[in-house]
Symmetry: C2
Subunit: 556 residues, 2 copies
């Protein structure tokens, strides 16, 4: 008989670790303990099930306990809760939630994959009967039953992160009136504010109310009616509330066992996913792992990293030797017709880390403009000021966003610079891209800044500059484009006439040129710079980026 | 006055070089000479224009000569042919094709971007009136006029490369009867045969005749009727023929000037895109550049590399200092509902290069299986046997192919190994991918081979082995799956019963296990290996890959 491997938790991390352990060792005894009745189900599918995109509940279940038994010879015990770990005796205490019986199970290796639970901030009324969360099958069942029985019409979603956004989309698709309340000043807090502005605008276009910078003070309930009272004094009336204020790792077992919990709030593991006890491995949301840009420990409660960690933990628990590299926190969310994605550091995170950096903004079509159906995307790069290394990327747009974030995530993983991005030989045919892919163009623009070929000013810097100084601000768009808005105080000099009109400008005055997305202003910069303008910048990302900063993005 | 920069050719390479030269030097004099009436038009858009996907001809023109003049202060001379270069005097001879006048133009820097012309193999009748090519606007105009005036019904496309495939698609979409004739034994010769099999099958499903391994002997014409006679003796009757047998670089000017032409058949350039004459730069199809995997010179007549080279040539011609890294030959083609893509080396190319390598096959859904609309893709990796470095990738499937080829192209550029592919932190949400992205899964499978965790046999190796030896061949699929076909001589032992049935097998006999795509056979390999089977392999890519080798792929 081989090793006895016990796994706590039967979803992404646990089920993944168990099957990898089996592939590594055919003679190990492998037992999975899962608190709920369900294993290996599609966590990320819940909002789509609620929205009706995934029509049948059974589609949420990826691998059945029966399949885990027959194919992998894994003993799966659902409705079994692990209540304690005795590290000295290498045993766990397990309670059968059906019978109430408790027993002890000995292990040679233990894998902890207890995952996350919904965060419960101390908001009065958040435990009321018309308040739902959406992180488990039971949650989805409860919400689905409520929706079908009570036929409510008005929803408030609290929290503008992944689950909140996907739930808002789901409820909109199902025809509900939806209000989304976010405490921060922008949706999807991991991305920078201006990159998230299109999200709020898009959700509003789709009919949602989006309340930003609003703290929820109380959820009041009166019979079938509910109201979300905001700290600002307003109240949003509704029929039910989905609380998506975030998730917290289930650390009670790890804490009880005395495993080291780190500064990032997760179980400390090495690159073999071994905890401070070498016989105990961990995988998924409870771990803190290495951030591939900063090298620092972070928690990344996402399915991709959880699955990779599970493979490593399972292999090593069964006597293998695999390593987990770490994560870039790569993420993508679909919100109706918009996609937003991020990899690596945001500008705020780079600033918080104290890494000298600059950013670039580009706006590109997702495939050849002459091929029908091209959609715009905005790409923001965060770049190491000294080395040109790409530290992070954020993309928002109508299509092709997931592709470019994955290309740039791969580049970040490989520690590529913006000049490497320029060089990437990416696939091109008109239905898929342009001869200069949006990822290349992001590289071109950032590398131009890096090589000192152009001085770019970011929208927030320009705003501060305009308040502080008398700036010669030149709009090089056409008169027609200017009708859609302008930066106050800008003088119109369409690019195609700039060579003739440049004489009207003072070459020794602080000058900023801008256009729609930053390409023509770059050309204008080159024209004026070479005519002796000695204190000049162009606006990174153009008027589109300016609008994103001012809450009026036009991405799609 | 700055430098005088002359550019020969006004499409991707030439126009791109000219505008980059302007951005680099505001005071240079820049003149573009273009033989045709058109500059900066969408080469890659022609098949879509013929197919009606791009409805209006004017959409093919990206930047007008007027715009090049007004915005970039570039002097564009269309219908001007450059007939000779006098390097000693730094001058070119130019003929005005309208007036016939010849003149001489002096240069400080010259950029050659003369591009490609259709190849003209010595096939009798290929210059007949019902034979068309599709590499220029004039070609498209001629074909379009023919189609509208003569309302033909039956087309033969000669050549199964990019243009041939896209033209076949276009003609099918326009309702023609289409026969596609390819001399090689498979379509899209740069990819390996088995990866191209789904293309032929798909085109046949769409109603095309696909004739492989057929050489065209003659194009016969009789009034309004034509016939393509094959060397095999058959003839295909039709109303018109599109010859897409490849393109050849226009090297006459470079040759006349005595510039060094290299072994790959292109103008030799350094990484600044400088030819053997330091005052003459080149960009696009005529150049031979560095292959990023082999380091050897290659010609890559594709738009992506041309545009990047143009930027470098233009900047340097104007006094800048940029470098071109090289190319992976990354490509993608849409053929009706199928996409096929390649980056880096094919298996055949790796073999021809003498690089010890292995391959892996994986079949994955392009996004979460439980989210509606998931399509399959097959990924083939070619891997350096010693280092695990990814040498190349080929992907064919229904959706998401362009994304994965770009991710893997980025990985190849960064010299990543298959273990790095395992680690890539790619974006996941159900509409975009799975928690284990197809690129990760390709990495998992290849890395398992690399680490010696499994011995994989490739379909062609298995075929040879079965002819040579008495092999214990085990099919671990279900009885239901087996109805769709099997490898002759295989014994059925469904994976879920394998642990019980293994005793019926001889552990000391050469054993090969297979399933549908290679995952269950990998599990079976692990089960049997650990039971003492000492001479065992599993079939890479499973029965799906086997079928691809035997011309019956089931990708979509």
């Amino acid at each position: 008989m081989g090793k006895r491997i016990l796994v706590v938790g039967g979803v992404a991390g646990g089920a993944g670790a168990a099957v990898k352990a089996r592939r590594t060792s055919e003679d190990a005894e492998i037992v999975v303990f899962e608190r709920t009745p369900y294993v290996s189900w599609a966590n990320c599918g819940l909002p789509y099930y609620i929205g009706g995109v995934i029509p049948r509940r059974e589609e949420l279940f990826v691998v059945s306990p029966r399949r885990l038994a027959s194919r992998f010879n894994i003993d799966v015990r659902t409705r079994h809760e692990v209540t304690a770990i005795d590290r000295a005796r290498k045993a766990i205490s397990v309670r059968d939630l059906e019978t109430g019986d408790a027993q002890e199970e000995r292990y040679d290796a233990l894998v902890l994959a207890t995952g996350s639970k919904p965060a419960h901030p101390p908001i009065p009324g958040l435990d009321g009967p018309a308040v739902f969360t959406l992180v488990s099958v039971e949650d989805a069942d409860r919400l689905q039953a409520f929706l079908e029985e009570r036929k409510p019409g008005r929803a408030v979603v609290i929290g503008g992160g992944f689950i909140g956004l996907e739930t808002a989309e789901a409820l909109l698709e199902r025809g509900f009136s939806v209000a989304l309340v976010e405490m921060m000043d922008h949706l999807l807090p991991p991305v920078d504010r201006e990159m998230a502005e299109p999200l709020a605008m898009h959700l509003r276009e789709k009919g949602a109310r989006v309340l930003l910078g609003e703290k929820v003070a109380e959820v009041a309930q009166n019979g079938n009616k509910a109201a979300v009272r905001l700290a600002s004094g307003d109240a949003v009336e509704c029929d039910f509330v989905v609380s998506a204020v975030g998730v917290a790792p289930r650390l009670n077992l790890a804490r009880q066992a005395g495993l080291t919990i780190g500064q990032a709030g997760g179980v400390v593991v090495n690159d073999r996913m071994q905890t401070s006890d070498p016989d105990i491995y961990a995988a998924g949301d409870i771990c803190q792992i290495r951030h591939l840009v900063t090298g620092k420990p972070v928690r990344v409660p996402l399915a991709g990293p959880a699955n990779k960690q599970a493979r490593v933990a399972g292999a090593n628990a069964a006597g293998g030797d695999m390593r987990y590299a770490g994560s870039l926190g790569t993420m993508v969310v679909k919100v109706c017709d918009l996609t937003i994605a991020k990899a690596g550091l945001s500008e705020r995170e780079a600033r918080d880390e104290g890494i000298p950096h600059y950013v670039s903004y580009t706006h590109s079509q997702h495939h050849a403009g002459y091929y029908p159906g091209a959609r715009m995307m905005a790409i923001k790069l965060v770049v190491d000021r000294f080395t040109g290394r790409v530290l992070g990327a954020q993309i928002v747009g109508g299509a092709g966003v997931d592709k470019r974030i994955d290309v740039i995530a791969t580049a970040i993983h490989a520690r590529m610079t913006v000049e490497d991005l320029e060089d990437l030989d990416l696939s091109y045919a008109p239905p898929y891209s342009s001869a200069k892919d949006p990822a290349n163009i992001a590289g071109f623009v950032a590398a131009n800044i890096h090589r000192g070929e152009v001085d770019a000013i970011e929208p927030d810097e320009l705003e501060a500059l305009l308040e502080r100084e008398d700036v010669q601000l030149v709009d090089v768009r056409t008169p027609a484009e200017r009708k859609a808005g302008e930066i106050p105080g800008a003088r119109l000099m369409p690019l195609d006439q700039l060579r003739e009109l440049a004489g009207e400008l003072d070459p020794h005055k602080r000058t900023v040129v801008y256009c729609a997305v930053g390409y023509r202003s770059y050309l204008a910069y080159k024209i004026l710079k070479q005519r002796g303008f000695d204190d000049m910048s162009h606006l990174a990302g153009g008027f589109d980026a300016w609008k994103m900063f001012h809450g009026k993005p036009q991405i799609i």
